[in-house]
């Protein structure tokens, strides 16, 4: 399970490390597009774009569907949502931890006040 997830995340971060692929995601965020249209927009050969789309597809960031002779690409948000969910869980953990820290520090402050009063007596 961990192995599977790891591969999955490696794929999605790897996919996002390339400027062209980030551009493709941005464009697909606005509208679905065929591979040939993407190739044209990014001044690339069809083969080059197919490769990029393949990487994005493997990472679960993009899905493609072939209708007739045209392969249409659309955004698949699954992997990004997973990373966002992880970040949120991590934030919750630290949030809970810091809430406990608040209590510890608050107690220290009260103790300091009491000690201060004792010293003055």
């Amino acid at each position: 399970m961990v192995q599977y997830c790891q591969t999955h995340f490696d794929a999605s971060f790897g996919a996002l490390s390339d400027a062209t692929r980030r551009g493709v995601l941005e464009q697909l965020g606005r509208a679905d597009a065929s591979i040939s249209a993407l190739a044209e927009n990014f001044h690339m050969t069809l083969t080059g774009m197919k490769k990029h789309v393949g990487v994005l597809e493997e990472a679960g960031l993009v899905t493609t569907e072939k209708v007739g002779r045209v392969r249409t690409c659309k955004l698949g948000v699954c992997a990004l949502q997973e990373e966002a969910a992880w970040i949120e869980r991590y934030r919750q953990l630290w949030g809970a931890r810091f809430d406990e820290l608040d209590k510890v520090v608050e107690k220290l402050k009260r103790k300091e006040r009491v000690d201060g009063r004792k010293k003055r007596k």
């Binding site: 995340f9 971060f13 992880w86 630290w94 949030g95 810091f98 608040d102 510890v104 520090v105 402050k109």
Partner: protein, 173 residues
């Protein structure tokens, strides 16, 4: 039990942020409404640290917590989770009272992660920035994937419950 007292005991909580700043960096920030010297104390005295560091979700118990907080000093945390134990250990690289702590995390298989905590006091409040620098992009990806950084993420749902009960129990002391 007494809901009013509980809410009185826990005033508005400050917001925690988490950001993956780069392929190798993860940054957590939070403000604590007290001066840096007190916050620093809670990070550097084992008997205080162990009261807040451990995720209170099910099955995870802190068995021991040793901290030799000085440059070159070591720390070791041992947790029990179900039938097994997990250890976290490393070395303090920098200890600047009330302002900065740096330590290594040496338990991982993928090389050392370096944690830097800065305590930035302003008008009696302390901004905490916890910065983790992973040895490689792969190491941080792996941490994200396994959830190890997040303690026991699948059980975090139970945190609210636990925190509520803790909130009332600490007040009785």
């Amino acid at each position: 039990m007494d809901e009013r007292r509980e809410s009185d005991a826990t005033p508005t909580k400050n917001h925690t942020t988490v950001e993956r700043r780069s392929e190798r960096e993860l940054v957590v920030t939070r403000t604590v409404n007290e001066p840096a010297r007190l916050v620093f104390e809670a990070w550097t005295k084992a008997e205080l640290f162990r009261r807040w560091w451990v995720p209170k979700s099910c099955g995870l118990t802190l068995l021991s917590c040793e901290m030799d907080v000085r440059v070159g000093g070591r720390y070791r945390l041992v947790f029990s989770h179900q039938a097994s134990t997990m250890e976290f250990f490393g070395t303090y690289l920098e200890v600047t009272p009330h302002s900065c702590l740096v330590w290594t995390n040496e338990e991982g298989d993928n090389g050392e992660t370096v944690t830097t905590v800065t305590f930035d006091e302003n008008a009696g409040k302390t901004l905490l920035v916890v910065h983790d620098l992973y040895p490689s992009k792969e190491a941080l990806d792996a941490a994200v994937a396994s959830g190890s950084t997040g303690g026991m993420p699948e059980t975090l749902d139970q945190l609210d419950e636990l925190l509520a009960s803790l909130g009332s129990s600490t007040e009785t002391k």
